[in-house]
């Protein structure tokens, strides 16, 4: 337990040095994303119950909890990927920038263009080159990108994903030729190329080796200067290392809906959480 504390302390120290979050500067943080009374269904089955959560801008929020408790389902409901599954729906609202993403007349496709997502397994498009992969999202939005602008965007996004140096000589080679960690950074580059406000990451490191994982974690800390990041992770140490706030999801039993049990500063969640369930989980005593 104390090890985790030490880790968070050291990271807070470094993040203060690297870039100040609004929390450190005592300015009222603005809310990037707010879920209000959100219930998520698969047809008639209630999968996630009554989520209320406000996520501050330019921070990293980790969602932790045992398998099947709805963290990924909640994440995917933020960029309306959840409803890609037939019969899936939500009740309640998700507010971003004062707009309810589930409001009447809102087009889910438009929502997804504003919110980026990185998946558990890296998925660069196999028939496209590295440069084409980075531009894939941008190409959907604007018909023609002048060549100069395009290559500048590619470089910018790849630099932002800490991948530029490694691939700058082979931008026209297929994206599938990279290592797992590099592929995932390519996916991150692809996501940030469209300059989303919010970046969602669904267990982005679970398919990667420890070295690549740490590389992506330090990348996340850099990215949070410009993006609001929400990450689902099974790795509690990771949550403790990178996130500012943590949400703990849990489930009472199979067939029951998942719930957001506790949501607070990461420090608090890991050192003295309010709920017993949270305490049991972070101390490794989950059922």
């Amino acid at each position: 337990m104390s090890d985790i504390l030490n880790l968070t302390d050291s990271h807070t120290a470094s993040s203060t040095a690297a870039g100040k979050t609004s929390m450190d500067l005592d300015i009222a943080p603005t809310t990037a994303l707010a879920a209000k009374d959100l219930h998520i269904y698969y047809s008639d089955f209630l999968a996630v119950e009554d989520v209320n959560m406000e996520i501050p801008e330019r921070s990293i929020t980790a969602l932790i909890g045992p398998s099947g408790c709805g963290k990924s389902t909640f994440l995917r409901s933020i960029n309306r990927m959840h409803e890609v599954i037939a019969g899936a729906r939500v009740e309640g609202s998700v507010m971003v920038g004062g707009v309810d993403l589930y409001g009447p007349g809102v087009d889910p496709v438009a929502v997804r263009r504003k919110i980026g997502m990185v998946f558990q397994r890296p998925n660069p498009f196999p028939t496209m080159s590295i440069a084409e992969n980075v531009l894939a999202g941008k190409k959907l939005n604007s018909k023609r990108i002048p060549k100069a602008e395009a290559s500048e965007l590619v470089e910018q996004s790849l630099r932002g994903a800490n991948l530029w140096e490694e691939v700058k000589d082979r931008l026209d080679k297929p994206g599938s030729g990279l290592s797992g960690g590099q592929q995932q950074r390519l996916c991150i580059a692809r996501a940030i190329a469209v300059e989303p406000e919010i970046l969602l990451m669904d267990e982005p490191c679970s398919a990667l080796d420890p070295v690549s994982t740490l590389a992506i974690e330090s990348l996340m800390l850099e990215l949070k200067e410009n993006f609001t990041i929400v990450i689902v992770t099974h790795n509690m140490q990771q949550a403790a290392r990178v996130s500012d706030k943590t949400g703990f999801f849990s489930i009472e039993g199979t067939g029951k809906p998942g719930k957001l049990v506790e949501y607070d500063e990461t420090r608090t969640i890991f050192s003295n959480p309010r709920e017993q369930a949270t305490k049991d989980y972070v101390e490794g005593r989950f059922g």
Partner: protein, 321 residues
């Protein structure tokens, strides 16, 4: 004392039995392995036999001239033209439509009936060609002959394709091509649909997460992934159209011509249809000549298969790692 005596007896016995076991399994392996190897050799023998008998039966046609004085070359060329022309038209008609239907079945059709529809299309790929031929003569030909072809001659007759004069019975190369198209469409659709369904969910979701519409997702993730599979399917369909006998034989009354006129009474024959029509009544050198054309057809389909395999093999298909 007894135990000392017993032991050698026991070890001798087990030594014998394990030796026996080895014998049996060695024999079993030899027999079984031999049969399997023999099967492989038999494949080789079969193909050698096919080549040999075909060439033997065809040979006289290469060396002698037929009674009607026509050279083998001038006999065969219009047939080759007809074969490629009909099959090419069929692929042109069927190909894009088949891919569209495959996309429909994999990505647009309501989930509950998509399975049943797919099954129906798969089933149609197995319907015998004689049934298609019968439908072509009795349903399609009169329909287009009385309606479409006269209209085409009247309004688009300046094009060499529709010069006419339109044949009222509709028994033209175009009708044959349409029947061929209907015949090969289920095959191409079945293979393409299979490939489209195998597009990794991961890549489809990557596209959707970037904010793509369904069509954009198909363009970005599904079609590039399925490209080589679709081409294989198209080549398979083309191969079937090239070798198709009955439908064409039933619809056309062929003349030995080369022209681009799709709707007249002067229609080129295909190699396969020609053989089917002439063989039952032929004898002597005639038979040799027909077999020679069969050899040419084999060469053509072999070439098409080879190209198909070459296309399917190269490029980063996205299906492999």
């Amino acid at each position: 004392m007894t135990s000392v005596q017993a032991e050698p007896a026991v070890s001798a016995a087990s030594a014998t039995s394990s030796f026996e076991i080895e014998q049996v399994s060695k024999k079993g392996d030899r027999i079984f392995g031999g049969i399997s190897f023999g099967a492989g050799v038999l494949i080789l023998v079969t193909l050698a036999a096919v080549a040999t008998f075909l060439v033997t039966e065809a040979a006289p046609a290469f060396t002698n001239t037929a009674e009607d004085g026509e050279s083998l070359f001038s006999y065969t060329v219009p047939l080759v033209f007809g074969t490629i022309w009909a099959a090419g038209l069929a692929l042109l008609l069927a190909g894009p439509l088949a891919v569209a239907v495959a996309l429909y079945l994999s990505h647009y059709a309501p989930k509950r009936i998509a399975g049943a529809l797919g099954y129906f299309v798969d089933l149609l790929a197995a319907v015998p060609s004689v049934v298609y031929g019968v439908w072509g003569i009795f349903v399609l030909a009169p329909l287009v002959g009385n309606n479409l072809y006269p209209w085409l001659e009247e309004n688009l007759g300046f094009l060499p394709f529709f010069e006419g004069p339109a044949l009222r019975s509709g028994r033209t190369i175009m009708t044959a091509a349409v029947v061929l198209a209907v015949m090969i469409l289920p095959i191409i659709t079945a293979i393409s649909r299979e490939v489209f369904l195998q597009t990794p969910r991961l890549h489809e979701e990557a596209s959707l997460a970037l904010g793509a519409t369904r069509w954009e997702m198909i363009k970005q993730a599904v079609l590039p992934y399925g490209r080589s599979g679709v081409i294989s399917g198209a080549m398979l369909g083309l191969g079937r159209a090239l070798g198709e006998t009955m439908a064409v034989a039933m619809i056309l009354s062929p003349a030995s011509v080369i022209n681009a006129n799709l709707i007249s009474s002067q229609n080129p024959a295909t190699i396969a249809a020609n053989i089917a029509l002439k063989f039952p009544e032929s004898s002597g050198l005639e038979v040799n000549r027909l077999v020679a054309t069969g050899l040419v057809l084999f060469a053509i389909t072999f070439g098409v298969n080879y190209i198909a395999r070459w296309i399917a093999g190269r490029g980063f298909s996205g299906a492999a790692g």
